[in-house]
Amino acid sequence: MSDIRTIRFTLNGTKVSKVVEAHETVVDVLTRKFDLSGTRESCRQGLCGCCTIYVDSNPVSSCLMLAWFLDGTDVRTIEGLADGDTLDPVQEAFIEAGAFQCGFCTSGFIMMVKHLLSENPDPSDEEIRHRLAGNLCRCSAYPEIMDAVKIAAAKARSVAKARP
């Protein structure tokens, strides 16, 4: 039967194809076959958020998804957020707030925060905490992460205001 196939999908705006085996998870394929190391596997159970990517604009845990099922989808990873050398406002906000120590969880947090702000440009503390309850930072940079979300939200709102 079929334990190997070629998947075709869009990765950070570029059409790509890759041969994958049935057992390969999305995070494995991104890391090993596309050399994109920003998406990380940590808890391996969908609890920690380090492996967050967008599939068709929805955040998913790439450690709980088989690469097989990426066929035909539109995938965005942390590497696809910046516009050339210009960082995404959420990335800038994390740097400004110093919202990390080791940085292992940071891309997952940034992906979740960017998605939160796209749905809710001015989230309350409770809404932020609730949404990020599925992301773990073992360096415990949570207070700075809260600051970063607020800085990012203010940046996004001022950009929106500046638009004609």
Binding site: S2, A22, G46, G49, L64, M65, H115, A133, G134
Partner: protein
Amino acid sequence: MEVAGLRGFDIVEPSSLEEAFGLLGTGDPAVRPMGGGTALMLMMKSELFKPTRLVSLRKLGEPFHGLGESADGKWVRIGALNTFSMLDHSPLMKSHFPIISRTMNTLANLRVRNVASVGGNLAHGDPHLDLPPVWMALDGEVRIVGPSGERVSAVADLYKGYYETTLEEGELITELRVPVKPDWKSSYTKVTTRAAHDWPAIGLAISVQLSGRQIQDLRIVLSAALDKPTRLTAAETVLRGRDIGEALLREAADAATEEVELETDNRGSQEYKTHLLRIYVTRALQDLVSEAAPK
């Protein structure tokens, strides 16, 4: 990281039911249908389940999709491949079954809710899941198709025991139907003993039809602390037709804790969970009554 549970299987994606039945009907319990796959992936990664073949249902089309009201408005049909997020965002669900959005609040996290499917969740048979007891309290039923035809089952009758369902080999849940009952109120209490988003120590889904402070009819479903989600019929009998008051709630809590023998596990001892049940069945009923008929 290489995991033995994630080795040596193939994936097939049938596009018709006949093809799916053919692929599933092998007599091999390691051939499994897959909806969103989140729960199955956890079992594979922890090596509790080592598949030989995964039969993805995602290309099966219409009978598994869609979410809408019946023409007479008496029930809502939910295709089995709807994700939890689709339910969470559905205005129809919000207006008829606000309990669902409230339950989603503490159900796993957004990334899992974006993938996990209604049907897969029902077929998984893990007694700790939050939604099966809720569908039971709402009198939900599932449409099941299989090689020998089609049948309908109450969600309550899907469960035989710990991870055991009444689904036969090759049978697939295509949709869930939930009756619309405008004069009923319902709540789900997820009692966790470690973190808010943890698996529950006990789950308690209750729906009531009230007339003032009198309980006309009700469903109380307990999950997580038993081998399967279970109706607490003795407690229901105590409460049915009577006015809510302190003495009645005590009597109902006594009945509830006497009719089941809860499991001890790493979320609490039998004694502790029995205490939790007593407290939370009382609080949940009080809240439902005061929400419907404020003093």
